[in-house]
């Protein structure tokens, strides 16, 4: 699971450097994000602009991250497109996650 970390105004921007977040990658993804949350990050933007496909395991991992960060933290998703957006809509998760076109937009809203 390739993740690229970046800090912006105390927000962790995590770029998913994989084309697919599926059952083969979801467990590692969940663990990697959990590690960062345990380390104290409670404001996280996931940059999914490079992701072309997510299955229900990947989606479940995202939900797990959201739960772990908890109601006092913040998890936003940036750059989801095409098949990824379609999955969010189908499962009504577009109403659960805070979705943004770009990382900048997500960071800006989280900072304000």
């Amino acid at each position: 699971m390739r993740l690229i970390d970046e800090q912006r105004n105390g927000i962790l921007v995590l770029r998913i450097d994989e084309k697919r977040v599926d059952a083969s990658k979801a467990p590692a993804f969940k663990d990697e994000v959990a590690k960062r949350i345990e380390a104290g990050h409670s404001q996280v933007v996931l940059d999914m602009s490079g992701v072309e496909f997510v299955d229900s395991s990947g989606l479940g991992a995202l939900v797990s991250c959201l739960k772990r960060i908890g109601p006092r933290g913040n998890l936003a998703i940036a750059g989801a497109s095409g098949a990824v957006i379609r999955l969010f809509s189908l499962t009504r998760m577009d109403r659960v996650f805070s979705l943004h076109d770009t990382v900048d937009a997500a960071v800006e809203q989280m900072s304000s």
Binding site: S24, S57, G82
Partner: protein, 149 residues
């Protein structure tokens, strides 16, 4: 005139993407983007289930997919030689799975979404178990021919 091809991987989650990419390329010749995604997500969920539940994560078993491009629909069959699943799990699955309370964080689903996604995305879904082989048959009709879909 039907045109069919069979694809085979062994029961390894790392190989599901290969199958998905190949089948997506076949479908995209006749289906639009949304329908191609509908087939891809259904196929991936079905194969993940075979590997994770049917074969209980054991490697070295076969997962087959037959793709037939027909004049007005695409037919996908997922074939395995695992213990069959309880057929009612599939027939009871539906989009109701996603009628959760979006304000109740703890109640959001982290799993149990695959069969529902299959039902929501495909126009026909049939499961046949027997003779040591299970077949999940899924049909996606071409969007332009089914204005109601």
């Amino acid at each position: 005139m039907s045109v069919g091809i069979k694809l085979l991987i062994d029961s390894d989650l790392d190989k599901v993407a290969l199958l998905a990419r190949a089948v997506r390329a076949l479908c995209s010749d006749v289906l639009d983007e949304d329908s191609s995604h509908a087939v891809e997500i259904s196929l991936v969920e079905a194969i993940n289930n075979v590997i994770k539940h049917g074969y209980e994560g054991k490697p070295g078993r076969n997962v087959g997919v037959v793709v037939s491009l027909r004049p007005d629909h695409v037919e996908i069959e997922v074939i395995d030689q695992a213990e069959p699943m309880e057929a009612s799990l599939l027939s009871n699955a539906s989009g109701d799975r996603f009628e959760f309370d979006i304000t109740d964080l703890d109640a959001l689903p982290e799993g149990g979404m695959g069969l529902a996604l299959i039902q929501m995305n495909m126009d026909e879904v049939e499961y046949h178990a027997g003779q040591g082989e299970n077949r999940l048959r899924m049909v996606k009709r071409h969007a332009q021919r089914t204005p109601s879909s």
